[in-house]
């Protein structure tokens, strides 16, 4: 089970790319004023069993501590982050912006998938404004642009729209679940069949029937929406969504937006705008988020919030960022009697931020790819650089030479 079958070199390359990618993300998060936050890896089982039931409990990894309490390895970040804030404040008089890069753990039905997956995301607490929403979505798109994706699409919907639609339909549990699935699948044919078998006001039926088609460029969808007999609450939601579109237009990002009123997130704590990001060559969302204004109430706090998470594994696999060559700078070859000399030289080089490997083993030298190859001689040093041989009598002239060549590279 759970064994990664990739070769060690493949994983090394993947790791290098992941580090590069995370650096890009971290820098971008900071430019929008976010600071780093952590949470502990273990959470109380009850947090997920009682406070939020959106994640299937069966999918969580459970652990029992010494006293018999059941813990889970955190299956998401939003809930622990929110709890952490809510423990400290019952209300916020100022904004708090945190980013995180952490592993979350869920067991999938497919055995081979790893239990832990890295997520990088932000949570923006205390600001309920549409400007905050737009800024967070802009950041999400900005990141995908930083990573070099050409085809970036962000679908925007509203978690409250489906709720508003169904609240007067008097559906039983099964029917509610069925309609939710049909709308998520944009299955117009079966939605019609579903509606034939229930008694609901014609106005509502008309909206439900249109749900699969309320998808596309903002103007295109708006024209269709205008024809529909929306309730006041729905109109309010739509107006809000289109104010966000206008704001994102100010960021110059409108071309990336898709309105999807049939968008329903499986996490049921979302209260208003929800969104998910897609890029070329990835068959699933690479990023998801939304506003969750009521979640903190579970912890007796009143803190509006919005956030999103990027799925790092998917981005690492697909991001067209250029792989940096990962060569060592200097390889120092010595004999046992020259150990002290080699340590001094390595020290000096490391002090100057070079990446250094020292080896006594002549046979290993061929395996190591380094820009400079230094061999300690009885007197002085021999250096191989770009296929040329150089001799140096003392350490300082050698270091100066390396410095000078390095500048040129």
């Amino acid at each position: 089970m759970y064994i990664n079958n990739k070769s060690i070199y493949e994983r090394e390359r993947e790791q290098r790319k992941q580090e590069q990618l995370i650096q890009i993300l971290r820098r971008r998060f900071k430019t929008y004023g976010y600071t780093k936050m952590k949470t502990q890896a273990f959470e109380e089982y009850d947090l997920y069993a009682k406070v939020n039931r959106s994640i299937n409990l069966k999918k969580m990894i459970k652990v029992i501590d010494q006293t018999g309490n059941v813990l889970v390895l955190r299956p998401d970040m939003t809930l622990p982050m929110t709890r952490q804030i809510a423990q400290e404040f019952s209300e916020l008089s100022h904004d708090i912006k945190y980013y995180y890069i952490e592993d979350v753990f869920r067991q999938s039905e497919i055995e081979q998938t790893p239990l832990g997956r890295t997520q990088a995301g932000v949570e923006y607490y205390g600001n309920p404004s549409e400007e905050a929403d737009a800024e967070v979505i802009a950041l999400a798109i900005h990141i995908l642009k930083d990573l070099g994706f050409k085809d970036i699409k962000v679908e925007m919907g509203d978690a409250g729209f489906f709720k508003a639609l169904t609240q007067n339909m008097n559906l039983n549990g099964l029917q509610f679940y069925e309609l939710k699935q049909l709308i998520q699948a944009k299955n117009a044919v079966d939605i019609e069949r579903f509606l034939d078998n229930i008694s609901v006001k014609d106005e509502i039926k008309q909206i439900v029937k249109h749900m699969p088609f309320l998808y596309g460029k903002p103007e295109y969808v708006l024209n269709m929406i205008r024809e529909l007999p929306l309730t006041e609450e729905m109109t309010h939601k739509i107006d809000y969504l289109y104010r966000l579109v206008d704001l994102l237009n100010m960021y110059g990002l409108k071309e990336h937006l898709i309105i999807d009123l049939g968008l329903i997130n499986q996490m049921d704590y979302y209260s208003d705008v929800i969104f998910q990001g897609f890029v070329e060559r990835v068959g699933e969302p690479v990023m998801m988020g939304g506003r969750y204004n009521q979640l903190a109430e579970s912890f007796q706090a009143d803190i509006p919030a919005i956030g999103f998470a990027c799925f790092i594994d998917l981005l690492v696999a697909a991001a067209p960022i250029e792989e940096l060559e990962d060569l060592l700078d200097v390889c120092v070859v010595y004999e046992k009697s020259q150990l002290e000399q080699s340590i001094q030289l390595a020290n000096d080089l490391r002090q100057r931020e070079y990446r250094v490997i020292t080896t006594e083993n002549q046979a290993q030298v061929d395996q190591i790819k380094a820009i400079f190859l230094v061999t300690l001689k009885e007197i002085g040093y021999e250096l191989v650089f770009k296929g040329e041989d150089y001799q140096f009598k003392d350490r300082l002239t050698l270091l100066d030479f390396i410095d000078k060549q390095r500048e040129g590279i």
Binding site: D190, Y215, F278, V282, G283, E284
Partner: protein, 208 residues
């Protein structure tokens, strides 16, 4: 323009799908020449068709290896893939049913052994009726199971009922109507919206 990948289930459904696509003015010359290629392009080189086993088809589309797929509703109900299901193409019509010997009792609360290509559908259907079942997954000739005492009843698709009749079995209950559906990967729909919507309009013209 970037091409679109269309996954088709090998066998009868692929033949019917090709007839349908022909009517929508989408032509695959290789297919008409009875090629056995697993990958082929249409005349305009904008659609790449791939042929996969029915059991793998929803996986191809869900994971984005194909942008769109044509597959029976039975497979969709069984696999529950996270995809869009945008059209009922109307062909490949049949019924998903419970079948067994005439007079077999289904819902008297006794647990049943059910053989099926669709163990999940069987479980869910009987669960809703309050009957516990032991589902046996078979990959073909499901009718055999009750005949040799492997199961009490079967859950399977039935088109004309001839196979059932010849083996002395009858339809005991109806689960769902089945027809071929067009499914679409959610990411593809976002990144290739216009191309896919245009394709759907083309197919819809045949349906109207």
């Amino acid at each position: 323009m970037e091409y679109m990948t269309l996954a088709l289930a090998t066998g009868r459904i692929a033949d019917q799908a090709m007839v349908f696509l022909e009517q929508a003015q989408i032509h695959f010359p290789d297919y008409q020449n009875h090629s056995r290629k697993l990958v082929m392009f249409d005349e305009t080189k904008t659609i790449k068709a791939i042929f996969a086993k029915t059991a793998d088809l929803t996986t191809y589309v869900e994971k984005g290896a194909a942008d769109i797929g044509i597959v029976g509703k039975d497979t969709i109900i069984e696999d529950q893939p996270d995809v869009y299901e945008l059209l009922d193409l109307g062909f490949g019509k049949c019924q998903l049913v419970v079948a067994g010997f005439p007079g077999a009792t289904l819902y008297d609360g006794k647990p049943l052994t059910v053989a099926s290509k669709y163990p999940r559908i069987a479980k869910k259907f009987f669960e809703e009726k309050g009957v516990q079942i032991d589902a046996i997954k078979l990959n073909g000739s499901v009718e055999l199971a009750p005949l040799i005492g492997l199961s009490d009843v079967i859950v399977d698709i039935v088109e004309t009922g001839t196979t059932l009749k010849q083996n002395g079995l009858v339809v005991l209950d109806h689960i769902a109507d089945v027809s071929s559906r067009l499914i679409v990967n959610k990411a593809s729909y976002a990144t290739k919206t216009e191309r896919i919507q245009q394709f759907i309009r083309q197919l819809k013209m045949v349906l109207e």
